[in-house]
């Protein structure tokens, strides 16, 4: 290593150190909405793996992504590997829906539904519970590391870790039988993958929601970056009405002679009393009054804060509100039924219909017939010609299927299934491979004939399955 004799030499840091943000708690309609979303999302995420579900075969878990047996169970829907295109359909639907919502109400996903926002919110609630609100937390931050600070920070991090662990474990529980996993996990009998997955998710949850927070949105998230290309002048944004707030003489705090709206308007002073509450409640630590910013996740908490102040003063609310750029400039309300929104809406609808069609029109069973090609044909003792076929049936239903086998295109043929079987049975949600012999008298004129295997379900549970093949005479 290089010697640095000059004591003033200090390596510059590789990144700008984060300044901790301690948002103030606030009440209001957006806070309430966020809490409801949080409650619903957490209920679904944390409880879903524990919901039991009766099905013919497979696990008794309502939602389970079973990798070893290659099945995704979603209530009564069982997704097989060959149905994976449904996942592509689902992702396309999600993308269109995102565009549609962005076109309609702007960046709504980030502020209310993104898991980074939800978990950060939860972790901040824990912080507030243990360490108190903004002022107390800021004081604690500045304190030297005494017993109080160690205890409070320690308890916070301990609770965070517990939540992070349960988050990681819950995620893992989607991929295995949850109650069994719970027992195995703590008796150290679970699969290695379960510990690795839970471990990684515990760590990332703790880091992302506890320490990185808004930095994830600012530096890591690609969505935040391409958000702006979907914005136009009519997109709804959380915005500060600068015209009203600043007036002609700018914003001024409340003081003698500037107490009422009349007094302020007479002197050209705006409605903003510069209380900075909107800055204090912001989870990403920005000042919304600076206009649209990349960091803004559109959570609406500054709206709650400003409305609270305005209400207290008896002034009209909405100094900070959902408004488009155009609305702020000209007062013209955005037209929600613009071409782009309708287009995205139609695309979303189409994707939904296609996805639903894809789900309900899945073939209940697949049939594949492959001729054994080595040897292509065999002369039997009687002089008849025999061809062999590997018949594979994949049953995607939750009930067993029993097929009878018929052959078309070879009238004199005798068909026999290897083993002591009269028909082809396939267990529920399983597949079977049968070897089938087809024998036909030698036909002097034909060396090859196209035939068709027809499998008829004996109880009429599904439509007959058909598959082409050829029969080789010589």
């Amino acid at each position: 290593m290089a010697q640095h004799d000059d004591p003033s030499y200090a390596a510059d840091p590789l990144y700008q150190a984060r300044e901790p943000i301690h948002p103030k708690g606030i009440r209001g309609r957006f806070r309430r909405f966020k809490d409801i979303v949080l409650l619903v999302a957490y209920s679904v995420f944390f409880l879903l793996p524990w919901v039991r579900w009766e099905r013919g075969t497979g696990p008794d878990q309502a939602v389970m992504f079973d990798i070893p047996s290659r099945r995704y169970y979603l209530f009564d829907l069982v997704i097989h590997p060959q149905d994976m295109f449904l996942l592509a359909g689902f992702l396309i639907l999600a993308a269109w829906l995102l565009f549609f919502v962005t076109g309609l109400v702007g960046r709504a996903f980030c502020g209310y539904f993104c898991f980074q926002t939800l978990w950060t919110d939860t972790f901040m609630k824990v912080e507030a519970l243990v360490q108190g609100d903004r002022n107390k937390r800021m004081r604690l931050e500045k304190q030297p590391w005494n017993a109080e600070k160690i205890a409070k920070k320690g308890v916070t991090i301990a609770i965070w870790t517990a939540i992070a662990f349960w988050t990681g474990f819950t995620f893992t529980a989607y991929w295995a039988d949850a109650p069994q996993l719970f027992v195995d996990f703590f008796t150290l009998d679970a699969a290695k993958a379960a510990y690795i997955t839970t471990g990684i998710l515990t760590a990332t949850t703790l880091i992302a929601a506890g320490f990185a927070r808004e930095q994830v949105c600012i530096y890591m998230c690609p969505y935040a970056r391409f958000q702006s290309v979907m914005f136009d002048k009519e997109t709804l944004l959380v915005s500060y009405d600068a015209k009203r707030g600043e007036g002609e003489a700018g914003r001024k705090p409340l003081k003698q002679g500037l107490m009422t709206l009349e007094e302020r308007h007479d002197q050209g002073v705006g409605d903003c009393i510069d209380c900075k509450l909107c800055v204090q409640v912001c989870p990403t630590g920005i000042d919304i009054r600076d206009g649209l910013q990349l960091e803004c996740i559109s959570c609406g908490l500054c709206i709650d804060a400003c409305d609270q102040i305005m209400t207290k003063r008896g002034w009209p609310t909405g100094l900070i509100r959902y408004a488009s750029e155009q609305e702020l400039e000209t007062g013209e309300k955005p037209n929600l039924l613009k071409f782009r929104t309708i287009g995205y809406g139609v695309a979303t609808l189409a994707a939904t219909v296609l996805l639903l069609y894809g789900i309900f029109a899945r073939a209940p069973a697949d049939l594949s017939v492959q001729q054994v090609r080595q040897p292509l044909f065999t002369v039997l003792a009687s002089g008849d010609i025999q061809n062999n076929y590997n018949v594979k049936i994949n049953n995607k239903l939750q009930e067993p299927l029993d097929f009878s086998l018929a052959l078309e295109g070879l009238p004199d043929a005798k068909v026999s299934i290897v083993g002591d079987f009269d028909g082809l049975s396939v267990p529920a949600d399983g597949s079977r491979k049968y070897l089938v012999h087809v024998r036909a008298p030698r036909d002097a004129e034909v060396d090859r004939r196209e035939i068709e295997f027809i499998l008829t379900e004996e109880n009429g549970r599904i439509e007959p399955l058909e598959h082409d093949a050829s029969f080789v005479f010589r």
């Binding site: 290593m1 000059d6 003033s8 040897p375 003792a381």
Partner: protein
């Protein structure tokens, strides 16, 4: 990244100058990089302790981590072998005790415990036996009998048809796979003037040629020496492995290859009669387990059907 200048605005360099004015900045390494470097050093030391690492003389340090697997001892009992960590031992262990190996063992045990008739009635076990049999066949049998059991006329019997020289009972097939076969037909000394009639008579048994009158009785008379094995009516004898000459299957004489040319067919027959047959199949009882042979028997028997 870090700035090239220190706080005084001076550039610290390594002091080397190339081409009169090229200097190398002497910036400290980023701390995270250094830590990562130290961690790799610690990692390597742990690695040396656990795993084979350093060569010395004609050997190497073995490391303290081990792999255990079982082998069959001389008396047939299992014993555990502990070796220093190496991928070969790990492979052996995985073949014995990995989840997929254990899952396969379950099915193998099923095949072991069930009778052939029971297996034929159970589609899943049959499917397992057939697919393992197919693999074993590819490893041990396909070199002669062909990938699909089609054999090679004149040399190796066709297993994909429904004619069986020694019969198609499972017990016979298992014993032939395990013990091998010594297939032999002695060369016949047939008089020059009778052999044409004999050949034609033999062909007539399966309807490949027509023979009547004097020739027929001469041929039949000559066939008397064949009847000891092939039977009076030419239907063969499974106990001796003598093939049925009345069916459409030809194993040694390439009658179908003559495409109906009687003279050619007679030549084929005469060649076999004059030279006899000497075929040998080695026994696989030492190389395959009983259960492997059972699965192989099921596969082979089902190739052609009955």
């Amino acid at each position: 990244m870090s700035q090239p200048e220190n706080k005084q605005g001076q550039v610290e360099t390594t002091g080397h100058v190339w081409d009169g004015d090229l200097r190398e900045y002497n910036n400290p390494l980023p701390r995270w990089w250094l830590w990562a470097f130290y961690i790799t050093i610690i990692f390597s030391v742990i690695y040396w302790i656990l795993y084979p690492a350093w060569p010395y003389g004609d050997t190497y340090t073995k490391g303290i981590s081990t792999v255990e697997y079982t082998v069959e001892g001389e008396n047939g009992e299992e014993k555990t072998v502990t070796e220093h960590w190496n991928t070969r031992a790990l492979f052996t262990k995985n073949m014995q005790s990995s989840p997929s190996a254990l899952a396969q063992q379950e099915w193998v045990n099923k095949v072991k415990d069930m009778s052939f008739e029971e297996i034929e009635q159970d589609p899943d076990t049959l499917q397992f036996a057939m697919s393992v049999g197919h693999g074993t066949f590819g490893d041990y049998c396909a070199a002669c009998h062909g990938a699909g059991g089609q054999g090679k006329i004149g040399l190796f019997p066709n297993l994909a048809d429904n004619a069986w020289l020694y019969g198609n009972s499972y017990e016979t097939i298992v014993s032939k796979i395990a013990g091998g076969i010594n297939g032999m037909m002695p060369a016949q000394n047939v008089a020059e003037d009778k052999i044409d009639d004999l050949a034609k008579y033999v062909l007539s048994l399966s309807g490949n040629a027509e023979i009547s009158g004097e020739a027929a009785s001469r041929g039949k008379q000559a066939f008397a020496s064949c009847a000891g094995c092939h039977g009076q009516n030419g239907k063969g004898n499974e106990a001796m492995g003598a093939p049925n000459l009345t069916d459409a299957i030809w194993d040694v004489a390439d009658v179908p290859g003559c495409k109906g040319d009687t003279a050619c067919q007679m030549e084929e027959i005469k060649h076999v009669v004059n030279n006899g047959i000497q075929r040998q199949m080695p026994g696989f009882g030492d190389r395959l387990t009983d259960t492997q042979i059972r699965m192989l028997a099921i596969y082979v028997r089902q190739l052609g059907g009955n």
